[in-house]
C-alpha cells in the first residue's frame, strides 16, 4: 500500500482502506490526500448507498477524502457492507459522468472584521507568527505578495462543501481550483479556547464557517453575518433542518463591508433573511477539466450575468 501521496497531482486512483470502527461503524479512507476527485467519489458512493436503502444502515456520513457508515450489526454484518461498498466503488470508478444535483449559494463575509480580529490578537501566543495577523501570515506562507492578492484568490473562485461536522452545521469547504492553486495553511500551534460564532476560518486545505462559539485551531480571516446553524429554525432556510449547509453545496464567499454586514445581521435578527441560492446540476468532469471556465458559468447561474 502506498504510504505517502506527497502534494503532487494524483495520476491514478489510490487504494481505499476499509476498516471497522468498533462493531458499529465501517470507515473508508479513499485517499490520504485531499482532492476534488476523491471528494466526488466519496459523495458518489454515499449517494448510491443512500439510494439503496440497505436495512441496518443508521448513518451515512460523507467526509472530505473518506466516508463513514454506522450500522446495526445484527441487521447488517460489517463484512457484508464492505463487500457492497467495494462493488459500489467499482461502479463509481473515477466518477466520470457523475452528476450532482445541488445548489449554488452566495455567502457574504466581512474580511478582517473587528470580532475575529480581537480574538486572534488575544491568542497571539498560540500562533506561528505572533507579529502578524492570521491573514498576513497565511498570505505570506502561500507566497502571495500582499494580503489583498491573497483575499482575491480566496474569494475569487467558488468552493465545494465537502463535509459537515465537528459540531452541527460546520461546513468544510474545498476550493474549485486546480491542485497547484489550492491554498494550504497550518492550523494554530495550540488551539484557541474561543472562536466567535460565524467566524470564517481556514486550516489545512479547508475553509470553514464556525457554526457555534467555541474552541478552534483554524486561522481566522473574517466573519459571516449569517448563521449556518439555527436550532430554533426561525429562518426560512432552516425550516427543514437546523443546519443550512449540505455536502455537495457550492458556496461562493463574497466580500462585504461593515454596512452590508450590519444590514444582513439585522435581517437575520428580524427573521426575514434568506440565503441567495440557485439550483444547479454540477458536473465534476467539467470542473476537473477546466475549473476556471466552469466556475464562471457557476457564478453566472448564481448572480444571473
Amino acid at each position: 500500500m502506498k504510504r505517502t501521496m506527497g502534494r503532487s497531482v494524483e495520476t491514478e486512483l489510490p487504494q481505499a482502506r476499509y476498516s471497522y470502527g468498533g462493531d458499529e461503524y465501517v470507515f473508508v479512507e479513499l485517499a490520504e490526500a485531499m482532492s476534488l476527485k476523491v471528494n466526488f467519489r466519496a459523495m458518489a458512493i454515499t449517494n448510491r448507498l443512500r439510494e439503496e436503502g440497505i436495512p441496518g444502515v443508521t448513518d451515512i456520513c460523507p467526509s472530505n477524502a473518506s466516508y463513514m457508515i454506522r450500522i446495526d450489526p445484527y441487521e447488517l454484518h460489517p463484512d457484508d457492507l464492505i463487500s457492497r461498498l467495494k462493488a459500489i466503488d467499482e461502479e463509481v470508478g473515477d466518477v466520470r459522468g457523475f452528476e450532482l444535483e445541488t445548489r449554488v449559494v452566495d455567502v457574504p463575509v466581512m474580511m478582517e472584521d473587528p470580532w475575529t480580529h480581537e480574538t486572534l490578537m488575544r491568542f497571539r501566543d498560540r500562533h506561528q507568527d505572533p507579529n502578524a495577523t492570521d491573514l498576513e501570515y497565511s498570505a505570506r506562507v502561500n507566497g502571495f505578495g500582499s494580503k489583498e492578492d491573497f483575499i482575491e484568490a480566496l474569494l475569487g473562485s467558488p468552493w465545494l462543501v465537502t463535509m459537515i461536522g465537528f459540531v452541527p452545521g460546520l461546513p468544510w469547504c474545498y476550493q474549485l481550483v486546480p491542485p497547484e492553486e489550492q491554498i494550504e495553511v497550518p492550523k494554530y500551534v495550540r488551539p484557541r479556547t474561543y472562536t466567535p460564532e460565524r467566524a470564517f476560518g481556514f486550516g489545512g486545505g479547508f475553509a470553514v464557517v464556525y457554526s457555534v462559539e467555541g474552541a478552534g485551531g483554524y486561522q481566522l480571516f473574517g466573519r459571516s453575518p449569517l448563521p449556518v446553524l439555527d436550532v430554533t429554525q426561525r429562518l426560512k432556510d432552516f425550516q427543514e433542518s437546523i443546519v443550512f449547509p449540505k455536502p455537495g453545496d457550492i458556496w461562493n464567499y463574497r466580500r462585504i463591508d461593515r454596512e452590508e454586514f450590519d444590514r444582513l445581521e439585522a435581517e437575520v435578527e428580524e427573521g426575514t433573511f434568506e440565503y441567495k441560492k440557485k439550483e444547479f446540476v454540477f458536473h465534476p468532469d467539467r470542473s476537473l477539466e477546466d475549473p476556471h471556465a466552469y466556475n464562471e458559468e457557476i457564478l453566472g447561474v448564481l448572480y444571473g450575468n
Binding site: M1, R3, G21, F27, I164, G165, P186, G204
Partner: protein
C-alpha cells in the same frame, strides 16, 4: 408535574438511547453513556425501551417528587436515600408526593441513572429527548438540570405492582478502578509506528480530569507517528490527517500524547489521526470510570467484538425477562 429539582448535583441531564442518524450534519448521538444501566432502569420500572431518564454524574441531585411515582436507580454506586433513609439501588421503589430523593457520596463508578415509570417527559427534539448541551438542544432547555427546575413525568399507569422487583445480584456490575477496554485497531492506525502501537496496548493509562460526555483523555505514555510528507489538505502536524469522521468510541492521539476516547457528545469529525475504536459492549464500563482510574486497551478482532455485543444483549434479555 412530577419532579422538582432542589439541588441539581454536579451534572444531571435527561438522556435516552440517543439521537441516531444525524451524523452527516455533525450531530453526535448523545444519549445515556452507560446504556446497560440506563436500559435496566427502564426494565425495572416497566418502561418501554427508549423512555428518558436522568443521568447523574459524580455527585447526585436532590429531587422532590410532586406526585406519587415508581422509580429505580441503577449504575454507579451512589446510594439513594428517600427522605434521608437509605433505599435500595437496582430495585423498584415507590415514592409518594412530597418525598425527597437524595444520594450519598459516590462509591465505585461515575454515573447513576434514575428511571421513573412513564419516563421523563421533555419535548422530543429530532426523535430523541437526550440532552446535548454544546449547542443547547434536547433534554430540559438543552442544558443540565438547575435548582428549581420542574420535570414532567409521562403517563405510565399504575405500576405499583412492580415495587420490590430487583435485578439479580449476578447481573449487578462491579465497577473497578482498573478497567480493560477491548479495542478494534484500525481507522488511521497506519499513522502510528509499530512500536507505538505496541506501547499503546501495553501501557496502563490513567484517566485525566478531562473525562466527560464528550470524551475521556488519558495520560501515561507518548506515541509516535510514522514520518511522512503530509498529504495535501492535512495540515502540518504529523498527528494531522485530512479531516474525517470520528466513530463513537474512536481513539485519537493529538500530538502523540494523551489519547482521547470519544464518547456520546463528541465532535463528529476532525483532523486528528484515529487509531482504533472501543467496542460497544465495553463503553458502558468506560462510562463508569473516573479521573485517576487505570485503563488498559486490549486489541480484539471483529468476531470477538460481535460476540461481546451478543453476550451483552443476551444478558439484557435475561434481565428483562426475569423482571417481567
Amino acid at each position: 408535574m412530577g419532579i422538582r429539582v432542589r439541588q441539581p448535583g454536579l451534572l444531571t441531564t435527561v438522556q435516552d438511547t440517543g439521537r441516531f442518524g444525524e451524523y452527516a450534519i455533525g450531530m453526535p448521538p448523545s444519549g445515556a453513556m452507560d446504556v446497560f444501566s440506563y436500559q435496566v432502569g427502564n426494565y425495572l420500572v416497566g418502561n418501554e425501551d427508549g423512555a428518558a431518564g436522568l443521568e447523574m454524574t459524580y455527585l447526585g441531585p436532590e429531587l422532590e417528587f410532586t406526585e406519587d411515582a415508581v422509580i429505580a436507580i441503577t449504575g454507579a454506586e451512589m446510594p439513594p436515600k428517600i427522605n434521608g433513609e437509605v433505599a435500595p439501588a437496582w430495585e423498584v421503589i415507590a415514592v409518594e408526593s412530597g418525598d425527597v430523593l437524595s444520594f450519598d457520596y459516590l462509591g465505585s463508578g461515575a454515573r447513576s441513572y434514575l428511571a421513573v415509570a412513564g419516563g421523563i417527559d421533555v419535548p422530543i427534539f429530532m426523535h430523541s429527548r437526550s440532552t446535548y448541551t454544546l449547542i443547547g438542544l434536547g433534554g430540559l432547555e438543552g442544558r443540565a438540570l438547575q435548582e428549581a427546575d420542574e420535570l414532567e413525568v409521562g403517563e405510565g399507569g399504575d405500576r405499583s405492582d412492580r415495587v420490590g422487583k430487583a435485578v439479580d445480584e449476578d447481573h449487578v456490575p462491579a465497577y473497578s478502578k482498573e478497567t480493560e477496554l477491548r479495542v478494534i485497531i484500525g481507522l488511521a492506525s497506519y499513522r502510528l509506528t509499530e512500536e507505538s502501537m505496541e506501547e499503546f496496548l501495553s501501557t496502563t493509562w490513567t484517566v485525566t480530569p478531562d473525562a466527560d460526555r464528550v470524551g475521556y483523555r488519558y495520560k501515561g505514555g507518548e506515541l509516535k507517528f510514522v514520518e511522512r510528507e503530509q498529504p495535501a489538505g492535512a495540515g502540518a502536524d504529523p498527528a494531522n490527517v485530512v479531516d474525517f469522521g470520528y466513530p463513537i468510541g474512536s481513539i485519537q492521539v493529538p500530538g502523540g500524547v494523551e489519547p482521547i476516547v470519544l464518547m456520546n457528545d463528541a465532535v463528529t469529525g476532525g483532523g486528528y489521526a484515529t487509531i482504533g475504536t472501543v467496542i460497544s459492549a465495553d463503553r458502558d464500563r468506560l462510562a463508569q470510570t473516573k479521573t485517576n482510574d487505570k485503563t488498559r486497551f486490549r486489541s480484539v478482532d471483529l468476531d470477538e467484538a460481535l460476540k461481546a455485543r451478543e453476550e451483552r444483549r443476551q444478558q439484557m434479555v435475561q434481565i428483562q425477562q426475569a423482571l417481567s
